[in-house]
């Protein structure tokens, strides 16, 4: 269990994390999401006591982690796979860590086997690929068999087989009753991994809730149509008050329902190849929410220009039309929202 209360960190006058209050529960995989620069790594470092909060506090199992003489049996962490000396072998690296925490040597070979590095354990880490370094980082986190595990962007550099393995590992760790806290800037990575989500943007809490609840926030469903008469149909639908984004023969429509579209097409003898109502994806919910938080942050901070935020997510981002505009006002974050963060009322921020 990880509990953050009004956690705040400023570097100089620049706030990195503001007023974060959340709880990460045992027995679940909790995704920690936010665009690049949202303050995820800062938060993880504060959980580990590497950085001290400017204000507020964070505890692991009810105690500040920094107060523990040895850490590996309490929290296992992968912060950055590059946080190792390239000149050492994986085995030496893990053995030094294990020794400092009085963990028996046999455990080193155990975790090396578990992450699939047993065959290369004697080689210099400098020659490892990013994926292998991630595996080594995960091995370090597992070393002390801890009840709480933190992973910062663990899927970076892993091949599809590795990603599948990591997901299964996280699931197993959570099923064993452990607290598993995984950060990512990609919603798609969390969609099949996390039970709970904690979403931050520009250092502020946007959501802390089960994945399903978060998905339900993406209220903006749309209807996809494929038709040889797409052009004509688009005109008719627009006239009927719908917002239409056109991709050649494919249209993405909001503002009218699928049956209404079918009726209009029938009335005008337009052939439809495909008609489907699409629920808003998690990714879109995430984008809408973080985009809002950036918009608010930029205005709130005065002259500071808005940072492009959704870059890495925008692989299949919708086109340039009104479709991207954030939907109806999203309910303010339940529970942990502190009173003095007006930005949480996302609807007002627009």
């Amino acid at each position: 269990m990880i509990e953050a209360t009004a956690l705040t960190k400023r570097y100089g006058t620049k706030p990195a994390v503001r007023n974060l209050t959340f709880t990460v529960h045992p027995g679940r995989v909790t995704g920690f999401l936010g665009p690049n620069g949202a303050g995820k790594s800062t938060t993880l470092r504060m959980i580990l006591g590497l950085h001290s909060p400017t204000f507020g506090s964070v505890t692991v199992a009810g105690r500040p982690f920094a107060g523990r003489p040895r850490g590996l049996r309490h929290v296992g962490a992968l912060l950055d796979a590059h946080d190792v000396h390239g000149g050492r072998s994986a085995r030496a690296q893990l053995w030094a860590l294990a020794r400092s925490n009085r963990i028996p040597r046999g455990r080193v070979d155990e975790v090396l086997g578990e992450v699939g590095l047993a065959d290369v354990a004697g080689r210099r880490i400098g020659g490892y690929s990013l994926g292998m370094k991630q595996r080594l980082g995960i091995a370090s986190a597992l070393l002390g068999d801890p009840p709480v595990l933190l992973f910062d962007e663990p899927l970076n550099g892993l091949d599809p087989e590795g990603v599948k393995w990591v997901r299964e590992l996280f699931r197993r760790l959570a099923d064993e009753g452990r607290t598993v806290f995984v950060s990512s800037h990609l919603m798609s990575e969390m969609e099949h991994t996390a039970d709970d989500l904690i979403v931050i943007g520009r250092g502020e809490l946007i959501a802390a809730e089960p994945l399903a609840a978060f998905a339900a926030r993406g209220t903006r469903g749309h209807v996809t149509v494929r038709s040889p008469g797409a052009e004509a149909l688009a005109g008719l639908l627009t006239a009927a008050g719908a917002a239409v984004t056109s991709y050649g023969e494919r249209l993405e429509i909001t503002g009218v329902t699928a049956p209404e579209i079918a009726r209009i097409a029938l009335d005008h003898r337009i052939l439809l190849h495909y008609l489907s109502t699409e629920n808003a994806s998690l990714e879109r919910a995430f984008m809408e929410l973080t985009a809002d938080s950036v918009e608010y942050g930029a205005r709130g901070a005065g002259a500071e220009p808005a940072r492009p935020v959704a870059g890495p997510i925008g692989g299949d981002a919708p086109g340039p039309t009104a479709d991207v505009t954030p939907g109806p006002a999203v309910a303010p974050t339940p529970g942990p929202a502190p009173e003095d963060t007006p930005g949480l009322t996302l609807g007002d921020a627009r």
Partner: protein
Amino acid sequence: MTTSATTATATTATATTATTATPPPPHAAALRTDEPRPRFRDLAAAEWIKIRSLRSLPIAYGTTALAVLAFNLGTAYDTYSHWTARTAADRARFVEDGIPLQHAFNANAALVLMLALGAIGAFAVVGEYSTGTIRTTFAAVPARGPVMAAKAVVLGALTTVYGLLLAAASFAGTQAILGARDAGVGLDHPGALRVLLASALLAPVSALAGFALGALIRHTATTMIATVTVLLFLSIALTDGRYWSALLGHTLPYQAWLRLAEPRYVPPEFGWSQGGAWTVYGVWGAVAAAVAVLAVRRRDQ
């Protein structure tokens, strides 16, 4: 009526008990670990594993040793080969003037040793900062002060042994070469042990100075500049000619070594004692270790 109510209550009670009894999540018991008592020697052992597992360190220590021996043995060989060019009076006073002890460990060798060991000491900590290893280290051991103390102890011990071996090898080698001209001395010669020990301990003192600067500065290049400045430039700039200059100069390890390695010290206007020089060694080592321990306490890592 009454009976059924009682039954209902009893059922509820049973249900409640059952619910309270269930909670422990699947493997909760397995997760509760009996943590062994934290020991300082585990931290020292871990640091020793780290040092041993870096191939670059034996190379750094090895090349430094070769350079130091080259300076010392080379100078001794020079004296040996030019021996016949000396006057008879010169040769007669060679041992009496303490020249063999100057050959045992000369100033060039001392400077090379200081700079190399200062850099090695600095790398013991900036190496961890530049690679990010320090975060892995401190996440595994949140007690940062003891980690730095363990590093200082291991570094100090290793460099002391290294310094002793190197000073002993230099002494033996140079005196053997001079001995071929009957100009060598043994360890029982007055001042010989002092020269040997002062040269040997220059290694840990320099390494710890670099280590402390590294812990304070944390950036590789800046740390190197600071180490060279403190160990070398200041020692050369602060001469014995003026009172304040001499006073400040006498707080530096290189000047302490000069004082201790001088076979026949003739005090200038602002002179100092051997005890003072030994104290400088001790204070530098202790203060450096303390600075490194304190440097990591409050700052973000």
